[in-house]
C-alpha cells in the first residue's frame, strides 16, 4: 500500500482525520484508527489480518471482508 499520502494526514487520538492538502475531514472509530496506524508503520494486508485476529474476537472470514472493505474506503478517499 502506498502510505506516502497517509503520512501527511493529521490524525487525532479520537479518530478525527484532517487532510491538509485538500481540507477534507473524516471520522473513524477505534479499530479504524488502529488499522491506519498499523498501515502507517508499513504493515501489509496479511500482517493486518494477524494483528486484528490477535486483538479482536473475529473469524478470519468475517475479518477479511471487512478489512478489504475498509481498505477500499481508504483508497476511495485517496488516503492509500
Amino acid at each position: 500500500m502506498n502510505i506516502e499520502h497517509l503520512a501527511t494526514l493529521a490524525i487525532s487520538d479520537s479518530g478525527f482525520i484532517f487532510d491538509p492538502c485538500t481540507g477534507d475531514t473524516y471520522n473513524t472509530n477505534e479499530i479504524g484508527l488502529k488499522i491506519i496506524q498499523w498501515i502507517k508503520k508499513g504493515k501489509d494486508f496479511n500482517e493486518l489480518m494477524d494483528l486484528l485476529i490477535a486483538h479482536y474476537d473475529v473469524t478470519e472470514e468475517e475479518l477479511e471482508a471487512d478489512l478489504l472493505d475498509f481498505i477500499q474506503t481508504l483508497k476511495y478517499y485517496h488516503m492509500v
Binding site: 492538502c21 485538500t22 481540507g23 477534507d24
Partner: protein
Amino acid sequence: MITVAVSGINAMDNPGPGVGIIRALKESALNVRTIGLAFDSMEPGIYLDHLIDKSYIMPYPSGEVKSFINRIQDIHSREKLDVIISTLDAELPVYMDIELTLRQWGIQMLIPSKKMFNLRNKTKLEDISKAINILTPEYISCSSYGDLVKATQTIGFPCMIKGPFYEAFKANSMGEADNYFNKLTEKWGFPIIAQKFVKGQEYDVVGCGDGNGNSMGLFAIKKMTTTSLGKVWNAVSIKNERLLETCHQLLKHLSWRGGFELEVLIDEHSDDIYLLEINPRFPAWVYMSSACGINLPERMVRFLLDMPYETHSNYDSGKIMIRYTNEILKDISDFEQISSYGELENNERLP
C-alpha cells in the same frame, strides 16, 4: 501615521472585502488611519468605529469619471491619503483610468493594468488556463437567448449558468437554464456564461503580485460552506503545493499587479485542477489570511510606500474561519451625518 482609504465596506450577506482589509491593517504593525469609501449610507462599515476612522460617500463609478475624481480630490485635501485599496470589480476600470493622476497627487495604488484586467475576464479563461498548465471547464459566452440555446446543446446538462460579475447557478434542464439566464441578465446584464459542470471541490487562493511576476504571499482555503450566491461563509486553510505553484505561474504569466483571488475546482475523479475565475482584487475573506500570518493588505501598503515587507507563504493548515452575523447600535445622528453630509467621523485624527 499612514492614511489608507478602502472601498467595499458593505459587510452584508454578500460582503465586500473592505472591512476585512481594514481589520487586517488595524491589526498590523502599521500606524494606520482608515478611511471607508462607501456608496450607500447603510453600508455597515461606516458605523464600525473600532475599525473605520472616517467614512465618505462616493459617487457611483458608473457615473461621470469627473465627479468620481473630484470626490477623491476633496477627500484627499482633507485626509492626505497615502494609499487607496480598491476592492470592487465595477470601480477598478475607473481607478485604472485615474491611477496616474492619483500618483501625481501622492496617492499610491497597486492595481492591474487594463490589459491584465481584460486578460482575466471570465470569457478568456481558456487562454490563461492553457498558459499556466491547468484546465478550465468548457464554456460558451452568450449574448442572446439564441446563444444560450445553442450553448446548452453543445455543453449539455447539467451546466453552470454564470453572470458577468457575480452569481452562478447549476441548471439541470433547459427550463432551469432559461430561468437563471433571465434572472442573471436582469440583474447583471450580458454576457452570460454557460459552463460545463465538473464535479469536485472548490478551492480559493488569495495573493498579491508586485507587477513584475513576483508573489507577495499566497494563502489557500477550501470552501466549507457557501451562501446562496456561492460566497465563502466557512473555510479551512490548506497547504496544496499544486495550487500554490499554479498561482506562481499565473503571477508570472500576467505579471499581475495587485491583490487577486484564484478560484479553482479539483475534479474528484481525475484530480485535475480547473480554473473557474480570477478576481482582480482581494476577496471578502482576506482577513483570514492575515489572521493566519499572511497579512496581504499590510504587505501591499508597505510595498507601495517603499517600506520593507514579507513575501513568505508560511502558515498553518487546519485553521477554520467562522463567519457570523452581528448587530451594533448607533445613534440616528450618525445616519444623519452620513446621509446629509456624505461623511461620518468615528475617530478624530490625532495631532
